[in-house]
């Protein structure tokens, strides 16, 4: 390949049509309470793991909905299943089950 002295910058726009929504569809079928999330961030605010490491469970929700599942594999290992997020969630989202299901989905779907 030729080098003309300049490079191509990768496009950073998110093309939702191109993204893989299999994981989010799987989650919604197994844990429908995920649909009730209003994105308030209370789960993140109270998250024990998030106090110590760079982990943001609300961000995980966003990545899932956009179908950006590549980063999730390492991300989900940070959760310690304490369940505090579930206690504060104003919508009663079953977060612990959601997180377990995400991990299972990553294993099965990739």
């Amino acid at each position: 390949m030729k080098n003309f002295g300049y490079t191509i910058q990768r496009d950073q726009s998110i093309d939702i049509d191109q993204n893989d929504r299999r994981i989010v569809n799987y989650l919604l079928s197994l844990e429908p309470s995920f649909n009730l999330c209003l994105g308030c961030g209370s789960c993140t605010g109270t998250c024990t793991a998030g106090h110590f490491v760079d982990f943001n469970i609300r961000r995980v929700h966003t990545l899932l909905r956009r179908g950006e599942s590549k980063q999730l594999k390492t991300e989900m290992k940070k959760c310690m299943f304490c369940g505090k997020c579930q206690l504060v969630c104003p919508r009663g989202v079953n977060l612990r089950n959601l997180i377990i299901t995400i991990q299972r989905a990553i294993e099965q779907i990739g």
């Binding site: 002295g5 300049y6 191509i8 910058q9 496009d11 726009s13």
Partner: protein
């Protein structure tokens, strides 16, 4: 649906385009990029439409590229443009027609400035008088050459020998149209269709039988952006902009791209070669690229002019696949010959892009 209301709204998106007697100013870069285009415009205007188009040999660059690269100050640019207006006045014309979109945008910007700040116009008049002894009248009508071809698109369709129809499938040729940013984005009322619905190229494509592709990045810049390209270290940004467009249009399988700016066909054409050499990507079928045309070239093709007289041999992306689809004859033997049969030299064969 009430069609009258729509028609009334659409009227706001029209612009006045002079009927005849044009003072035509060439572009300083197009003659290198697409050397046959301006000659084809003059040929169509004079031979096909019997219009009076005048050129003045004393015309110079408008310095628009220098202006948009922050090299030439606005005061200087205005005085240079005032000189072009003086040439028009001295030649006895009132309708100013530019070949270049950068010039068109610049002339529009200057006329608008003078309208809002008459004292600036007076100052420029004084500068011009002191520097050259010249005086000028402001053009009665300012149009881009694509406006003029748009105005006469139906006359061209009536005289056309070919239509934008794929002769193998009988279906309309699928065209991506790309409008130069400075055509109507800065001053929407000065372009046909404004900034929201630029119609200048769509009108030609539809009247000549083709179909326009609406794709997500249709209004994205071609990538020229002046300093993005002129500074070598920034060139990757220009290339990335073009790539974004190609990636977005490719799934719709365009047969060609039609443009009305000097920069757009240059970058949409040449960057396809650069992308193929850097990454091995080609955007057409079987290693072909997507041919990129100027509106004059397309009009000339429809009128049955010899493709090599239109300058199609200097395109980086070969145009032959499109000519074959429409059924326009060409002689491959003459591709790299001058009118008197001398060789103009053959370019190096690209590694990936299919070459004819």
């Amino acid at each position: 649906m009430k069609i009258e209301g729509k028609r009334r709204i659409w009227k706001d998106y029209q612009k006045e385009i002079a009927e005849d007697r044009y003072f035509y100013v060439r572009s300083c870069v197009r003659q290198n990029f697409f050397p046959g285009s301006e000659r084809t415009f003059l040929r169509i205007m004079k031979d096909e439409l019997n219009k009076d188009v005048f050129e003045n040999a004393a015309h110079t660059t408008c310095s628009g590229i220098g202006y948009h690269s922050d090299i030439v100050p606005f005061e200087t640019v205005m005085t240079m443009v005032a000189r072009q207006f003086a040439l028009m006045t001295e030649s006895g014309y009132e309708n100013f027609t530019t070949s270049c979109i950068t010039s068109f945008g610049l002339y529009t910007e200057i006329l608008e400035t003078w309208q809002h700040f008459p004292d600036v116009e007076l100052r420029v008049r004084e500068h011009l008088k002191k520097a050259t002894g010249r005086e000028f009248i402001v053009p009665k009508n300012l149009s881009h050459a694509s406006d003029v071809i748009f105005k006469f698109r139906k006359e061209i369709a009536n005289k056309a020998k070919f239509k934008l129809i794929n002769k193998h499938t009988g279906k309309p040729i699928q065209v991506v149209e790309h409008i130069g940013c400075h055509y109507s984005r800065m001053f929407p009322s000065k372009g046909v269709g404004g900034a929201e619905y630029p119609y200048v190229l769509v009108g030609m494509i539809e009247d000549w039988g083709g179909e326009v592709i609406d794709y997500p990045e249709r209004r994205h810049c071609c990538g020229f952006g002046f300093r993005q390209y002129l500074v070598q270290a920034n060139r990757g940004y220009s290339l990335s902009c073009s790539k974004k467009k190609f990636d977005s249009m490719a799934p719709y399988k365009p047969d060609c791209i039609l443009t009305n700016c000097p920069g757009c066909p240059m970058f949409l054409d040449r960057w396809q070669y650069a992308l193929s050499e850097m990454e091995g990507i080609t955007y057409g079928e079987n290693g072909q690229g997507i041919p990129v045309l100027t509106y004059e070239e397309l009009a000339g093709m429809m009128l049955g002019y010899n493709p090599w007289d239109l300058g199609l041999q200097v395109h980086q992306v070969p145009v032959e696949p499109l000519l074959d689809k429409i059924g326009i004859p060409y002689n491959p033997e003459q591709k790299f010959l001058t009118l008197d049969g001398m060789s103009i030299g053959k370019p190096e064969t690209p590694t990936f892009l299919k070459f004819y």
